[in-house]
């Protein structure tokens, strides 16, 4: 009987937690439906399916950025859209099944958000040669697969330069969420940008977790501890590429009376209002631009295939000016941007 009680307690807690998660999702759903209020074109016959990574709509970061591009296509291109999101730690067959169900329900193209879909897209695309697929952040190859890739190192170069221009202690930091090749690109670009301004600058760097532990993308407490350590050691600006953990980096910056740099979206607009003033700038990774331009290609009658790198030239990446904290150095940053675009500066990516 003692055992039964234990089991009951565990199961009961699980049910409550899950029920809570379900409620939270409902409320975000209603939020984004109001966003598409402006004039939209008449519906056309194209149905677009999008499979999100864990977190789905409402993560204020990666998935939301992709969703923004999809919503824009729904309105401006008249596409019918459908989304589905991944579960944490799910089976490979669940990812494959999700893509196949979108295909079965008549969605074409199907866009997979995130590298977790890499092998699932490769497999399902091969089984459905008549359907077009796109995948964000992954280079899986196929005749009917488009790879939406980003030059994260270029955007990071600019915010690295911004940090080096703004720092008073010549000591800056970088917090990476999970030590993947993708996040390495952010770090390398950031370093290159900072060193372009000041070759002797000190750069502290830390990753919160190592794969397969992906909690580094969603643990503000870890982000806060890491950033606090850097501020204690003399840094006055810390750039994070750590998804949800970034909230902790902002808090630490606030406590230390220092500055932080956001990532992916313009975080001076999306972060908690109490910490927005510490956000110097954000490295923009405009997944929405990539998603929309892919769908624009579909609307024009020819779905793009193969890798497309969205870089500074096409505004796939960039930096934000919200809050006006980088206005005084904007001309210098734009000069770097011009040099990267015209090829006189080559930013390393690994």
């Amino acid at each position: 009987m003692r055992r039964l009680t234990k089991v009951t307690a565990v199961a009961g807690v699980a049910v409550l937690v899950l029920a809570g998660a379900g409620c939270a999702k409902k409320s975000t759903d209603s939020e984004d439906s109001s966003a598409s209020g402006k004039d939209c074109v008449a519906k056309v016959d194209t149905k677009v399916g999008m499979a999100f990574d864990v977190g789905g709509r409402g993560d204020q970061s990666f998935n939301d950025s992709a969703a923004k591009g999809l919503d824009k296509a729904e309105c401006e291109l008249g596409f019918e859209v459908q989304t589905a999101e991944a579960q944490d730690g799910e089976a490979e067959s669940a990812r494959e099944g999700r893509l196949q169900q979108l295909v079965d329900a008549g969605y074409n193209p199907v866009i997979a958000v995130g590298f977790a879909y890499s092998s699932a897209v490769g497999k399902i695309a091969k089984e459905n040669p008549d359907v077009n697929f796109a995948i964000v952040d992954d280079a899986v190859e196929g005749d009917n697969i488009a790879n939406l890739l980003f030059a994260e190192e270029q955007g990071s170069f600019l915010v690295g330069a911004a940090a080096a221009l703004k720092t008073e202690s010549d000591n800056i930091g970088f917090v990476g969420g999970v030590e993947t090749p993708l996040i390495k690109k952010f770090e390398v670009g950031y370093e290159a940008g900072a060193k372009a301004v000041n070759p002797d600058i000190k750069i502290q760097s830390r990753y919160l977790t190592q794969p397969p532990d992906f909690s580094g993308f969603g643990d503000p407490a870890k982000g806060k501890t890491a950033a606090e350590g850097m501020f204690d050691k003399g840094a006055d600006i810390v750039y994070h590429a750590a998804g949800g953990s970034g909230a902790g980096v902002f808090e630490a910056a606030k406590d230390a009376d220092a500055k932080a740099i956001g990532v992916d979206s313009d975080q001076a607009l999306t972060a908690d209002p109490s910490v927005r003033d510490v956000i110097l700038t954000s490295m923009l990774k405009n997944i929405d631009v990539a998603v929309f331009s892919y769908l624009q290609g579909v609307a024009d009658g020819k779905a793009p295939t193969g890798p497309t790198v969205y870089d500074l030239k096409v505004d796939g990446v960039g930096y934000s000016k919200t809050g006006g904290q980088v206005d005084d150095i904007a001309s210098k940053l734009d000069e770097y941007k011009k040099q990267i675009v015209d090829g006189s500066i080559t930013v390393p990516s690994e």
Binding site: R3, A91, G97, Q101, L182, Q210, P211, P212
Partner: protein, 372 residues
């Protein structure tokens, strides 16, 4: 005699049936509260899956089954091995490294990897077993802690063992060579995917589990210890040894959990390897009453619900979390239903005994047989 047996069988089946009906009603209630279409959701969940889906169900049931058996071995000893989750992840990683390095050719390599997985799983569970017998640490606490340590340890080691795959963000061990994979087979015509060949190993595990528990001296000792430790001590069973051995066996079985995926589909252990299988095993062992056939049915049920819930978002615009709620509710209702049915059974027995005694008194018979 047969009448009694039928009654007992009826009672045994009544409990899960009652639990499922109750879970069905409670989930419907949740759907109503959430404002979703009750009919639409059940229509989707209870629809007949296509060949691809059926294959997925058999495959994930295979994995769930091994997890359920691993937990059940502990349960029979009254040990609550919550650590199956950590044990299978450490073991799968070890197997992936051994198989990926391919020190031995072909099938020998497969066998070595399976053996390595079982040993590592057993060793990881053995830590909790040792702590229990030498220091009296509750295995519930130690296995939960070991789960967290397993996560960190595997993350650390994976970085050391990972191979670079340019252009990809997935960190994974070296791929298992083709000759050492376990081939699948097509069970459902027209399916684009295949059933794991490992399903046969899972069946063997089930048979061995049943034989050892029910037909050996060791199994008898194990069950006796699980039912009453003091009685076991009195009859000369070395309880400490039993705890350690059953923890090791539970861990060895847990070591197999991730292998169907490893040898049948993923061929490497990486950042997208399925997690949380150990916790599902607890629910499934409970659902199946630790019986090899019951666990198989429980595993199939959970796999069925998983597979059928995946399209809910696309077809019904309902979050697949609803199935997680259903699975949780099933566990709760199963626990309650078994207790209700057990009490009903006891009362039924008492009434029979009373009736028999009454009859005896009236006829003045001296017969000792009362229960029939």
């Amino acid at each position: 005699m047969t009448d009694q047996r039928l009654k007992r069988l009826g009672l045994a089946l009544a409990a899960p049936a009652l639990a499922l009906v109750a879970a069905f009603l409670i989930t419907s209630l949740v759907l109503v509260v959430a404002g979703d279409s009750v009919g639409g959701v059940w229509g989707q969940i209870l629809s007949i899956p296509e060949a691809r889906g059926l294959t997925n169900i058999v495959n994930s049931a295979t994995v769930y089954y091994l997890s359920g058996v691993a937990v059940a071995i502990g349960f029979r000893m009254n040990l609550f091995n919550i650590g199956v989750d950590g044990q299978y992840r450490v073991a799968s990683f070890a197997a992936a490294v051994v198989a990926g390095e391919a020190w031995l050719p072909g099938w020998l390599n497969t066998a070595a990897a399976i053996l390595a997985a079982m040993l590592v799983g057993a060793a990881w569970a053995g830590i909790a077993g040792l702590l229990r017998v030498t220091r009296g640490v509750s295995e519930v606490i130690s296995t939960i802690m070991l789960n967290a340590i397993a996560t960190a340890l595997v993350a650390f080691l994976l970085r050391k063992a990972a191979v670079d795959d340019p252009g990809s963000n997935i960190t994974a061990t070296k791929e298992i060579p083709e000759g050492s994979r376990i081939p699948g087979f097509t069970l459902f015509p027209g399916a684009p995917n295949q059933v794991y060949g490992f399903v046969f190993i899972a069946i063997v595990v089930g048979v061995v589990y049943w034989l050892v528990i029910n037909k050996t001296r060791f199994g008898f000792d194990l069950r006796a210890t699980g039912l009453s430790e003091t009685a076991a001590v009195a009859s000369g069973i070395d309880v400490k040894k039993m705890i350690l051995v059953s923890m090791l066996l539970s861990g060895a079985a847990a070591g197999l959990v991730g292998l169907p995926i490893l040898f049948g589909e993923a061929f490497a252990y990486g950042s997208t390897f399925q997690s949380g299988l150990g916790f599902a095993g607890i629910a499934i062992a409970l659902l199946g009453r630790n019986h090899p056939v019951g666990i198989a049915l429980g595993a199939l049920l959970f796999a069925f619900l998983d597979e059928q819930s995946n399209p809910l978002q696309i077809v019904q615009d309902v979050s697949p979390d609803i199935v997680k709620i259903t699975q949780g509710v099933i566990v709760l209702t199963v626990v309650i239903a078994y207790e209700v049915v057990r009490r009903y059974g006891v009362r039924l027995e008492q009434r029979q005994v009373a009736a028999a005694l009454d009859a005896e008194r009236r006829t003045g018979s001296t017969s000792k047989e009362v229960t029939g």
